[in-house]
């Protein structure tokens, strides 16, 4: 069986599966149950000055029977006292010395406040701290959370403050509510961060109740924007993780977060450069028990592919991500339909007709009306392949006309007059 142990910025973890700082890590008894279930690490629910929460605070988008494709919250940091939290952290670490226990922090933008809390945490025996520069609601209105993460100078400054006060590894948790993730990532590293984690939640309004006309979640007739997470945000998180993994200046380990629910999601984050992954929504949906298949599935995958350790796949797909201008313009694929498998739902036809290039007409085969791809017209966009409900029915096949790869960059360097627009 492949070895799942990882070392994340000096923090040893039995596997790369961590709980994100959120309700599932609200208190000692919960984190202990999670460790018992198999989680390798946990980032404690963010500590700070006591707050008051509103009710209600969660809303979701569903698709038919599939609930919580996306989740949104307007919850703040921990609502429990610092003393109680610290006491439970100390206790938990004592009971689970081999697990990774990271403490998330968020205090007002004062050097002493950050020094003070960082020291108190170090004293508990915890393995590291995570600076919450991401919470996009509530706390940001008070100059904390995303308000910090959106300004690279602040990110750098506060990271430096924390580094002054503690020898523990410092992870900076970034907000996705920026136009470009690289500047805040670099700022964290400049400030001395030992690692970064991303993403925190995304600004969002979840929808409107069509009877009361109040957006979700309803707080006595009013609503505020909240933070979006869950399966729907995974592609955004993957993009941001891979951006930082590709950046030479961000040369610290990455903890990937956002929409992870299965070993497959986790493997994708690892391949794009994450060393550990953190999970919140999927656990809020199904409980700690989901980690069992994450561990089992990932180790089976590694065994299948002949990898001995999870470390062998970290970042393997990073070199496969490039800029659009470096893609091969001469690479050509077309869709091909296997009529043995086709059930004649005609979704490919209408998708290509109304959403692509009108090249899936009907043809009669053995007395039945089948959609057939006109390969001369097909531009290989993938749409039909994506909509077909039958596994393996439409495949995208390469048409190799022997021409050599040619990128847009090469083309425009060679013939600058032909292509001027992006």
């Amino acid at each position: 069986m492949a070895d799942l142990k990882v070392n994340f910025a000096g923090i040893e973890s039995p596997n790369p599966f961590w709980l994100a700082s959120a309700p599932p890590t609200n208190m000692g008894s919960m984190v202990e149950r999670a460790f018992d279930a198999g989680w390798g690490g946990a980032v404690w629910k963010t500590l700070g000055e006591p707050i008051r929460n509103v009710c209600s605070r969660l809303a979701s988008i569903d698709q038919g029977p599939q609930r919580m494709l996306g989740l949104n919250n307007i919850e703040l940091i921990t609502d429990r006292s610092l003393e109680v939290n610290l006491k439970e952290i100390r206790e938990c670490k004592r009971k689970y010395p081999k697990h990774a226990l990271i403490i998330s922090l968020m205090v007002e933008s004062k050097r002493e406040a950050w020094h003070e809390i960082a020291k108190q945490v170090e004293d508990t025996g915890a393995d590291g701290v995570e600076l919450n520069f991401g919470c996009p609601h509530g706390m940001s209105e008070r100059g904390m959370g995303a308000a910090m993460g959106q300004v690279p100078e602040y990110t750098c400054m506060v990271t430096e403050w924390v580094k002054e006060a503690t020898s523990l590894p410092v992870i900076v948790k970034l907000t996705p509510n920026v136009t470009n993730i690289t500047p805040p990532g670099r700022a964290a590293v400049r400030g001395g961060a030992d690692a970064v984690s991303l993403i925190n939640t995304i600004n969002s309004v979840m929808g409107v109740d069509l009877d009361t006309l109040v957006p979700h979640p309803n707080v006595n007739g009013m609503a505020a924007h909240g933070g979006y997470c869950g399966p729907a945000v995974k592609p955004i998180a993957l993009n941001m993780v891979s951006e930082l993994a590709r950046d030479a200046e961000v040369n610290v380990p990455i903890s990937g977060i956002g929409g992870i629910g299965t070993w497959r999601d986790a493997a994708e984050f690892l391949l794009l450069g994450a060393t550990t992954v953190q999970v919140c929504t999927a656990v809020m949906h199904y409980g700690y028990r989901i980690v069992e298949d994450m561990i089992d599935g990932l180790s089976n995958y590694l065994d299948d592919k002949g990898f001995h350790s999870v470390n062998d796949i970290i970042g393997l797909s990073v070199p496969r991500v490039t800029d659009w201008g470096n893609l091969d313009l001469n690479y050509k694929t077309v869709a091909r339909i296997d009529h043995q498998k086709c059930i004649q739902c005609n979704l490919c036809h209408i998708a290509c007709e109304d959403g692509a290039h009108q090249c899936i007409p009907f043809t009669e085969i053995d007395g039945k009306r089948f959609p057939v791809v006109d390969e001369h017209e097909c531009v290989g966009c993938n749409l039909c392949y994506l909509v077909c409900p039958v596994p393996g029915c439409i495949s995208m096949v390469r048409l190799d006309d022997g021409s050599r790869p040619l990128t847009w960059r090469e083309l425009t360097t060679r013939e600058p007059e032909t292509m001027t627009a992006d």
Binding site: Q344, C345, L347, V372, P389
Partner: protein
């Protein structure tokens, strides 16, 4: 019909036995099922539905929570869509064609979804169809079955003054008096009748054309007439003893069941049902539900030849009906009192191949094979007679050899241009949904005849999509 109710089970048990076999979908089920539909384009289910309801459209409306719109899509293509949701042989129609049947051997439950949407408008009392502005013309409709109700709906939408004449006390035809009670109750049929009435259609029940009102009077009162008279009484067995007490016509038996006044329904301990069509199945399954100890299905051929649908046959098997294949009744024998049926005398039959290629067989009786089965009730379910005598009174009307009214299949116009016809009296006895489609086509035909204008209602024909084409490879 003499009524002897001799059931060993109590009324509460009978009530339970007549529970719906396809209960309504819960909200959770409807959400799940409507999302499972892949929303085919040029969908095979729509092609397979005789009224060509835009099935993916109504299912996606359920998924989006637009139940009113969903029901509108259904009723626009099929005015008796709530009945059809319960009684259509979906296995051989929409669900039989569903791509999910091909993909997962589990078709979308189109019938139950259709019920979910139509139930929603009935319970909310919402009208989804509107009458047209009056155009000053009137149409008389004979018969308030699926064909008549459907034709009336479309004509009212076009602005015609429509009057339906129905000889029975309740409107709805076989939807009201014939459907197996575990599939559908009279309440559903009456809701559909009420929906038609709310379009301004006048429904005169207890009014028989040819008795209460004469045919020429009817023709004189309207600009056109639609005949949706269905079929007549069950065919006779033409064997001795048919007049004995304890011998029933399946239609009369079922009509009594439809009252749900169980104690008034005749039922014996051992019941022989003669025939093997869908009506015979309805008779055996309901006889069992009423408490008959033994129910025998008597048929001169075998299950290979039986006209009932596979699904219906399965129902009868589940109800532990005894199938007496290759058995032909020759006499119903009276008991000691000389008035009541006490036994069925039958002969065995044997198969003779008449056409080796198609495997078609005919059956002849075996001499000397007679035997008697003690029974205390016999139900005749041989299929219905055509209303030849009644129809022959209409001048110039043409009937084919089988007694069916001959019509132009596009306009449903008969040889007498003022008369249109559709449903069982034209097709010889098919499904409610076929009658609904015929009523729609007839309304279009009547409008063309009276106004010269061609209209096309939803699902009047298979939606026309691009033709297949040759492509270069």
């Amino acid at each position: 019909m003499s009524t002897t109710h001799d059931s060993p089970i109590n009324l509460a048990q009978i009530e339970r036995n007549f529970r719906e076999i396809a209960p309504p979908l819960t909200e959770a089920e409807a959400i799940m099922e409507s999302h499972r539909c892949v929303y085919c384009y040029d969908a095979p289910c729509t092609r397979a539905c005789p009224t060509h309801i835009d099935v993916p459209a109504f299912i996606k409306k359920i998924a989006s929570g637009n139940l009113i719109g969903s029901a509108r899509v259904i009723f626009e293509a099929n005015p008796i869509g709530a009945s059809c949701a319960r009684v259509c042989p979906v296995d051989v129609l929409c669900e039989g064609a569903c791509v999910e049947k091909t993909l997962m051997a589990k078709p979308i439950e189109i019938g139950r979804l259709q019920r979910y949407a139509t139930d929603a408008v009935f319970t909310r009392g919402r009208d989804v169809l509107k009458a047209g502005a009056p155009n000053g013309k009137s149409v008389g409709i004979v018969g308030s079955g699926p064909a008549g109700l459907s034709c009336a709906t479309y004509l009212a939408r076009l602005g015609y003054a429509v009057r339906i004449y129905e000889r029975k006390p309740l409107a709805g035809g076989m939807d009201t008096y014939g459907m197996a009670e575990y599939k559908m109750t009279q309440r559903v049929s009456q809701e559909e009748v009420a929906q038609v009435a709310r379009l301004g259609v006048e429904i005169k029940t207890n009014t028989e054309i040819g008795r209460d009102i004469q045919l020429d009077e009817l023709a004189g009162a309207h600009d056109a007439v639609f005949l949706g008279v269905g079929l007549g009484a069950t065919s006779r067995l033409n064997i001795p003893g048919e007049q004995l007490e304890g011998v029933y016509d399946a239609l009369d038996f079922i009509e009594r069941i439809k009252t749900r006044d169980w104690a008034s329904v005749p039922i014996g301990r051992t019941v022989a049902v003669i025939g093997a069509g869908n009506t015979a199945i309805d008779a055996v399954t309901q006889a069992r539900r009423l408490g008959a100890k033994r129910v025998l299905m008597i048929y001169r051929r075998t299950d290979r030849e039986m006209p009932a649908y596979e699904y219906e046959y399965e129902l009868a098997k589940r109800d532990a009906v005894e199938f007496w294949w290759q058995t032909a009744p020759v006499e119903i024998v009276a008991g000691a009192d000389g008035t009541r049926a006490a036994a069925l005398r039958c002969v065995r039959t044997e198969a003779v191949e008449t056409d080796a290629a198609s495997g078609r067989r005919s059956f002849r009786t075996i001499a000397g094979s007679e035997f008697e089965i003690p029974v205390d009730m016999v139900i005749k379910a041989l299929g219905q007679q055509k209303m030849v005598d009644w129809l022959s009174q209409i001048a110039k009307l043409k009937l084919d050899d089988a007694g069916r009214v001959t019509v132009n299949p596009e306009t449903m116009q008969t040889a007498n241009p003022k008369f249109f016809a559709g449903g069982d009296c034209v097709n010889g006895g098919r499904e409610a949904v076929d009658a609904a489609q015929a009523g729609k086509l007839a309304a279009q035909g009547i409008h063309l005849h009276l106004s010269g204008e061609r209209v096309e209602f939803a699902g009047a024909r298979v939606p026309l999509h691009e033709e297949t084409s040759e492509i270069k490879h």
